[in-house]
């Protein structure tokens, strides 16, 4: 499939997703937009339940039955993926967008040999004509991810955690996808294996010039391997920019809090700054900015209106009071902020009692 339109490889625009549950409609993803170019690595970070995995599953067209696409579009190479018919979706999955799963330990079927499970994907997409050719391809992939090709004929339970993770990466690469989504790719592994696999995955990504989306709650993991970073909170993409910029000078108070809650090995010794409170209930999210109940900078307007994008070069945040408020924040906002502190405290007391 050749590119029909000149433009980004992957373009997500205003993606909005709901889950219908017994308790009500869960507003899982709210107007998320981003773009991804060939060879680029994007990180999506946020707490559990912030909608990262829902975004990933939408990109795979792999949503549960109770999910409803409430708005937005996703184009891959100019092709609207939500317009695909059922047969085309099957073609699309893995061939266009593949996934390294969150639970790599359990995403291999225990009753089949590991190699066979990768051959199965190659067979389904008719990448190779014969099984022996498909097996050769798996052997090449195994070497690429640092596994002995002889392990192809072993069962998943005979693999260690790290080996399984590598096998799952080989599986994701098996059909030459345009985009790979790595959903918490290393969470279940110990730190040393985690670091090694991340570095290898990055090397493979650069070697094959693939686009990759890392999804993690661990901002440190994402920082190492991505060019761009998107921070998600309560279904919204609240900050987006070059990874280095976001790390150096986060705009959104939530990003700042996330960065503050991870220890730095090489940096100065400092107490870890936790973030109090819990993520909001997405069935009935707070009005205005969803972060305002936990935000130290929240003011009256944060409770009333959803914030616009505040830009700082190529970096933006959806916030009324971005962190480096120097350049663009008008002075009356600061004044308002000062006068509203009392109200915020009161409401906080009210909730506590």
């Amino acid at each position: 499939m050749a590119a029909k339109i000149n433009g980004p490889l992957l373009k997500v625009e205003d993606l909005t997703l709901r889950y219908l549950t017994r308790g009500g409609e869960v507003r899982a993803v709210e107007g998320v937009s981003f773009e991804l170019e060939q060879g680029q690595a994007l990180g999506l970070v946020g707490e559990s339940g912030c909608g990262k995995t829902s975004v990933a599953n939408s990109l795979m067209r792999l949503l549960p039955d109770n999910a409803r696409l409430a708005g937005g579009q996703v184009w891959l190479r100019g092709e609207d993926i939500f317009a695909l018919e059922e047969d085309e979706v099957r073609e699309y999955r893995w061939r266009r967008v593949a996934m390294v799963f969150q639970a790599a330990m359990n995403s291999l079927d225990p009753v089949y040999k590991v190699g066979q499970q990768i051959v199965e994907a190659i067979e389904a997409h008719e990448i190779e004509g014969t099984i022996s050719a498909a097996r050769e391809r798996v052997a090449r992939l195994f070497r690429l991810v640092g596994l002995d090709p002889a392990l192809m004929d072993r069962y998943p339970h005979e693999f260690s955690g790290g080996m399984r993770q590598r096998a799952v990466i080989a599986m994701a690469l098996s059909c030459d996808p345009a985009v790979i989504i790595a959903d918490e790719p290393t969470t279940a592994l110990d730190v040393i294996v985690q670091d090694r696999i991340l570095r290898e995955l990055k090397a493979i990504q650069q070697q094959l010039n693939m686009a990759i989306i890392y999804i993690s709650h661990d901002i440190a993991v994402v920082a190492e391997v991505t060019d761009r970073i998107g921070v998600m909170y309560a279904g919204h993409l609240v900050e987006y920019g070059n990874t280095a910029d976001v790390f150096r000078a986060p705009l959104h108070p939530y990003t700042d809090a996330l960065l503050g809650s991870f220890p730095s090995v090489t940096g100065e010794r400092r107490p870890l700054a936790g973030l109090s409170g819990e993520p909001p209930n997405l069935i009935d999210p707070p009005a205005g900015c969803p972060f305002h109940p936990r935000c130290p900078r929240a003011t009256q307007i944060c409770q009333e209106e959803f914030p616009p994008q505040a830009w700082e070069g190529t970096q933006w945040a959806k916030c009324w009071h971005p962190m480096n408020a120097g350049a663009e924040a008008p002075s009356d906002v600061e004044l308002e902020a000062a006068s509203d502190v009392g109200i915020v405290e009161q409401s906080a007391h009210g909730e506590g009692g």
Partner: protein, 383 residues
């Protein structure tokens, strides 16, 4: 694995010995013995009665009788049936066991397939009309009073509609001028069924061995050709009509048995499948772009199969000792009926022979399923 099999065989011998011992003393624990029937006849003089008991060996002490039985069983001598005198026990069993086995094996396999397919279908698409229909009718049939249901089936299909024979193994009118015995025709039928199954497996295996993607779709037509060829040979064999008569007699009991038992497998498969569909590897299979049918059959159902196979063992054992109720209602001359009569008349040699047979079969079925498990679940290894 070899070590395991050797140990397993040892356990089986021990278990079989226990089965024989228990069966012997249980039958002996009944009041009287086989000669009691004659002993009650006032026309027989006491000394003749005594002689009669002596000739059956029933005057010997219990432990001596037991030891004689044990010795004979070990040497493969099952003796002569008291009730079917002078036919040897082996002769009676060789005639009866295959009839029961075929009936119940067919019903077991059929209800296993129907149960498994329905179970996985209703677990895959929840809440549809199929789920309600299958669950309600399956559970109703599973719990219905068997003799009443069997009689109802006979009443509808044999009596009112007249589609099928009422009971028994064959129709004497059809066989009046036949120059072959029923056992011969039945044996040939079994042979055909066995060869056909072997052929089907061979075709599947060979097509898989070629390693060509997409070649597997020829398996169905090839197997069908084999089936047609078998039917062709039978229709020119001259005994095709006789075989058809036996088949006709088998339909009603098999359908009845299948109907009352498929729900067990169905509900078990459904529950097992509801757990496997939530597994990550099923989601991964779908993400890989596999067709839904493959996701369901190769991944979700394949893993759901494991606990279901365990339940199959018990049905297999059922396949040889039969069901007295079904055999009585359908006048089917099988093991269940034979064993019941033998126990009631204290036909010791026949009881013991049947017990050894049933015990051996159930032990083998368990062993086979344990070995099968190794192939079904690679995580299981015996040492």
């Amino acid at each position: 694995m070899t070590g395991y099999l050797v140990r397993r065989a040892g356990q089986m011998v021990l278990t079989l010995f226990l089965i024989i011992t228990f069966a012997f003393f249980l039958v002996q624990a009944q009041p009287g013995d086989y000669a009691t029937f004659y002993a009650l006849d006032p026309d027989i003089p006491p000394e003749v009665k005594q002689q009669l008991r002596a000739s059956f060996g029933l005057d010997k002490p219990l432990w001596e009788q037991y030891l004689i039985h044990l010795k004979n069983t070990v040497t493969g001598d099952f003796g002569v049936s008291f009730g079917h005198f002078p036919r040897p026990v082996m002769d009676v069993l060789v005639e009866r066991v295959p009839r029961t086995a075929v009936l119940f094996l067919s019903a077991t396999v059929l209800s296993f397939y129907i149960g498994f397919f329905l179970g996985k279908a209703i677990a895959w698409r929840r809440g549809g009309w199929l789920e309600y229909t299958a669950t309600i009718s399956g559970a109703t049939l599973f719990t219905v009073f068997t003799p009443a249901f069997a009689l109802m089936m006979i009443w509808i299909f044999a009596f009112r509609l007249g589609w099928l024979p009422v009971g028994k193994f064959l129709d004497p009118l059809v066989w009046r001028h036949a120059d072959v015995s029923a056992n011969y025709v039945f044996g040939q039928m079994l042979l055909t069924a066995f060869l056909f199954t072997a052929f089907a497996f061979l075709v599947l295996y060979l097509l898989k061995r070629t390693g060509r993607v997409g070649l597997a779709r020829w398996a169905g037509p090839l197997i069908a050709v084999g089936g047609v060829a078998a039917l062709f040979v039978w229709s020119f064999s001259g005994v095709g009509g006789l075989a058809l008569d036996i088949l006709k007699h088998m339909v009603l009991p098999i359908v009845t048995l299948t109907l009352i038992s498929f729900a067990g497998t169905m509900l078990l498969t459904r529950n097992s499948m509801l757990e496997t569909v939530r597994e990550d590897y099923v989601m991964a299979a779908r993400a890989k772009g596999l067709p839904e049918k493959m996701v369901r059959d190769r991944h979700a159902a394949r893993n759901a199969l494991l606990p279901v196979v365990t339940s199959l063992v018990y049905s297999l054992v059922f396949a040889i000792d039969g069901s007295v109720i079904i055999e009585v209602v359908f006048s089917w001359p099988g093991t269940g009926l034979t064993l019941l009569q033998a126990v009631r008349t204290e036909d010791l040699p026949l009881v013991m022979g049947a017990m050894v047979f049933i015990g051996l079969f159930s032990l083998l079925a368990h062993a086979i399923v344990d070995v099968l498990y190794v192939y079904l679940d690679p995580r299981i290894r015996y040492q």
